[in-house]
Symmetry: C2
Subunit: 299 residues, 2 copies
């Protein structure tokens, strides 16, 4: 069976793994990424980690997942907030030359989407839309096993979609951007503001709503409606076979997902009501998805 090298690079940590084409991790090396020390240090470290993988030469290609938007054609990052010096750096080219096999770069949310589309919850389906909801909100459309990364690598950068114009200005994102309104951070912020109380983490807001706290009930209701509208919008654009949901907030999915689906149905055509909302199936979509990049490119 074919196998690939997957690299999951973050600002703090990096993982390198040898993974089969059906998503099984055969070997893995983890360590610090030295992300603040610049490309020379980061690249030298990754290269030595690849060489620690037994029989890495058997692999048919290299895939790398990185935070932020990626120019997938050029194989380089567009912005590199968490990895200084990497914007425009010829990441994929350098890896390809070093190891003598094709190398591909994509955004970490996009590779997670790819993993779910190829070997996870969306396996075998043509149109998979992945959304991750945690402190932020990200997403990616996968069509026929390829991520729609777009002209500038901003495909699936859904955080900035305006869900309601009549909200508070929070940060650089649009007023009413879905990430500010319906991320974990957003729900916690809005509950705390409305109630004057402070909660340890977002999960508490769902508990309080169940206990009858009026401010929590209102915050959760708005959260569900905002997400319902978000998914209805996505359905209008690409009518996916499945919505796959990942991210830290899914720990509380039983508390809000039925409400989100109800809202989704209230804002969409009857024909699309049967689109399934399914939790991500993979435990390690980041590293598996990175390894799926060469596969999705026919390697």
């Amino acid at each position: 069976m074919k196998c690939y090298l997957g690299i999951d690079l973050g600002g703090t940590n990096v993982r390198v793994a040898k993974i089969t084409e059906d998503g099984q991790i055969l070997a893995q090396v983890k360590g610090p990424s030295y992300g603040q020390e610049g490309p020379a240090k980061v690249m030298a470290n990754i290269k030595s980690m690849v060489r620690e993988i037994p029989n890495w030469k058997e692999c048919s290609g290299i895939g790398i997942g990185v935070p932020g938007p990626v120019d997938t054609k050029a194989g380089c990052m567009v912005l590199s907030t968490n990895l200084p010096g990497f914007a425009g750096y010829p990441f994929a080219d350098e890896m390809s030359k070093e190891f003598g096999m094709p190398a591909y770069l994509d955004n970490d949310a996009n590779v997670a989407a790819l993993a779910e589309a190829l070997v996870g919850a969306g396996k075998g389906l043509n149109y998979v839309f992945y959304t991750t909801i945690s402190t932020g909100i990200g997403g990616c459309l996968v069509v026929d096993g390829k991520t729609v990364s777009g002209k500038h690598g901003f495909g699936g950068e859904v955080a900035n979609i305006i869900i309601d114009r009549n909200r508070e200005k929070i940060n650089y994102l649009n007023v009413g951007a879905i990430e500010n309104e319906a991320s974990g951070t957003g729900l916690k912020r809005k509950y705390e503001k409305a109630s004057g109380k402070t909660v340890k983490h977002t999960g508490v807001v769902f508990d309080l709503a169940e206990e009858g706290d009026e401010a929590a009930k209102a915050a959760v209701a708005e959260f569900e409606r905002d997400l319902g509208q978000y998914f209805a919008t996505i359905a209008c654009v690409c009518d996916p076979d499945i919505f796959v949901l990942g991210g830290g907030m899914m720990k509380s999915a039983d508390k809000f997902l039925p409400g989100v689906i109800e809202q989704y149905k209230s804002m969409s055509h009857t024909a699309v009501h049967d689109t399934p909302f399914v939790l991500a199936a993979l435990e390690e979509p980041g590293i598996v998805g990175a390894a799926m990049l060469p596969k999705s490119q026919g390697q």
Copy 2:
């Protein structure tokens, strides 16, 4: 050069043409579609029209564009408001058997998008997003030369995207749906309501705005902002290489498109500001796009 049969079927008229793979119309037959008389009559009529096309047997496949959402895998219409009896009718299969070549069915907005992506304004680009604005609003994403028609044929049925929750309920669409707010019909309705006047057609509203009519200026400003937000939303989902714009409203494009683009930029990341907004290049995208369906499927 390869050629294909394109069929553009509406509730009133139908056209059948023989078209080269680069979009040149070699022969064409037009006539009434008998759309209200049911599938038997409609199909018999189309079949005889195909046989009027000189050397139709030289074609490598048949593509059919129809109004409303289509199950492209099954090759049949999902809804058939303007063609009674066609919902679920095995349209593509019947044509394929009759003429001994592969046949494909898709929505008329989707085939127009396909035409622009393959041989029109988006030729050679990976991600083309087509939007048509006239009495209604439709659209379609084309990825690598294939329409993203979606699970239920509702991909690109963008009319129902909510642009602002705080609007009037107009019809079966969502409150604040883009089609009700920023179609030609929508702009005319909103101006007439605000001003208490009646205008002959939507174009007059742009003229009045130029002449300083305050209600017209406000209506056009809202129209531009609504469309700007719509395109910013699409960019978040798929970051296309190009926005291609068609439909009757494009006759007034010089009056509103600069304002729409300004609004788009105000609601999107700097990286995507250079995405071009280009008017549709083809005079007959409906019939040409229909003929491009077999080409997009590798025929």
